[in-house]
Amino acid sequence: MDFLNALVAFVNFVGVPAIAYGSQLAIGALGVTLVYSVLRFSNFAHGDTMAFGTMITILVTWWLQSLGVSFGPLPTALLALPAGIAATMALMLFTDRTVYKFYRAQKAKPVVFVMVSLGVMFMMNGLVRFVIGPGDQRFADGERFLISARDFKAMTGLREGLAIKTTQGITVITAVIVVALLFWFLNKTRTGKSMRAYSDNEDLALLSGINPERVVMYTWLIVASLATIAGVLYGLDKSFKPFTYFQLLLPIFAAAIVGGLGSPIGAIAGGFIIAFSEVTITYAWKKVLTYVLPESLKPDGLVQLLSTDYKFAVSFTILVIVLLFKPTGLFKGKAV
């Protein structure tokens, strides 16, 4: 019984949150990895792209709510999501035409592109704060739990409860759908294959008559969708705050690099590795350990390796270790 309680406590406080967070990071990292493999630079504006898409989704959610529209037990934001994606697509295409295209024509070095993306990041950052403000926004509505801790305890008779939030369920289901669609697109469609070809060998793609501008356009459209979906899922699960989204850049890049920049599978694996590391290292293990250890070994403290304030140190440490020992990441990406 104690063992079951320990297991439930573990799943409740570590497993479920890490799977949800890992899915969000994975979708974010897929966007970063796509930009890296097709446009060949690390896009520092990705966090703020997520913030922009989420902001539009929140604004449309508020508007829908004011009209009395709801999505039953599901968050209204899911109805607003397509609008958020469309607006972000427009913003990406606009940014590409006005900014990145200029540097592409110059055949600028990747490091120049990285700096340019920093500039784009500050612009988007300002835009989002200007429109919605720097504060915290909660926009999740509908049913709060798929299973609440109380129901779970009543059902099983265990002392520990297992709660699964609706947003966590939605996150995982959406992630599975998004990843399946993305892989289908990249591996089965003509356009998807041409993106892979362009990423593999730009010159040969040109010699095969693949139009680079079209590849770039499709990439931005997909990246806009991925960024908005990742941002909205994260915001539903936690809350929306522009600064937090900027900070997400670190775990997202860590995920993409750990998995191997340019490798979609790697981005997904990396997302979960980062999420599980972050959650397990910042979790106070006292409860779980109390169940499984004999009386004499009961921990006195919280058994928390790092305070949650330092959670970014986890991504950073993993990032440094990977760059030192396996710079191409787990799935043979390109070296940074």
Binding site: R190, K193, S194, R196, A197, D200, N201, D203, L204, A205, L206, L207, S208, G209, I210, N211
Partner: protein
């Protein structure tokens, strides 16, 4: 003399803003012919091929295809016009399967490409067995077959090959030459750079010896093979 099907005429030019690599260099090919470019390393053979394909700017001179001046067309537009090119290096998509490589070769086509793919598989049967394998996992000779196959997928009107036999064993080389002759028999003009000058000139209808970006000798393959100067300097006696 009538105008050749494809001609890079008196091309002068180099990379970017760098010095000229080609000086008044002329190469041409006609239907049913194999034209071979030979010359020492760094002579500008690859550069001449790239110039004909529009991958670098020619400062003077012209490129004409079937009588039409295409000097100012982009490489993509030249593909659409019917030119196929296999570069010397990085000539396959290593992370994609053999079949996907061929599919990408036929990217610009809007009609059914399966017949052409079958023809490529008939030409290079080993590729049919390896169709679902990443091209980067093939041997050097097999990769060259993928590279040539990819270029054939557009059903080009002229095929340009930059050292198709680079890094393959003598047996595979003979095999590849046989395949190239087979392709040429269909009437497809082939312009090719070769390191194995002797064998290449033997199958060549026309040969060009380039030295430091200039045409040093030009003639039929047999003429060049018989020329004592050429023999002494380029064919090892």
């Amino acid at each position: 003399m009538s105008e050749p099907f494809l001609i890079g005429d008196a091309m002068t030019g180099g990379y970017g803003k760098g010095p000229d690599i080609l000086h008044e260099c002329t190469i041409a090919v006609n239907p049913g012919e194999i034209a071979v470019i030979v010359g020492p390393n760094g002579a500008g053979k690859s550069t001449a091929m790239k110039a004909v394909f529009g991958l670098l700017n020619v400062r003077s001179g012209a490129v004409r295809l079937d009588g039409e001046d295409i000097t100012s067309l982009s490489p993509q537009d030249r593909v659409v016009k019917g030119m196929g090119f296999v570069p010397q290096t990085q000539n396959i998509f290593t992370s994609m399967t053999v079949e996907e490589n061929l599919e990408m070769g036929g990217f610009i086509r809007t009609d059914d490409i399966r017949d052409t793919m079958e023809q490529v598989y008939d030409l290079f049967p080993i590729l049919r067995d390896k169709r679902n394998q990443p091209a980067g996992e093939l041997s050097g000779g097999q990769r060259q077959q993928v590279a040539v196959g990819r270029a054939l997928m557009t059903k080009p009107k002229v095929l340009m090959l930059d050292e198709p036999t680079a890094g393959v064993s003598p047996i595979v080389m003979d095999e590849l030459f046989d395949r190239i002759i087979e392709v040429s028999r269909t009437g497809l003009p082939i312009l090719m750079v070769e390191q194995n000058a002797k064998q290449a000139l033997e199958i060549a209808d026309k040969g060009y010896v380039l030295v430091q970006g200039r045409n040093a000798y030009t003639g039929t393959g047999q003429e060049l093979l018989a020329d004592p100067e050429v023999r002494k300097s380029f064919l090892g006696g």
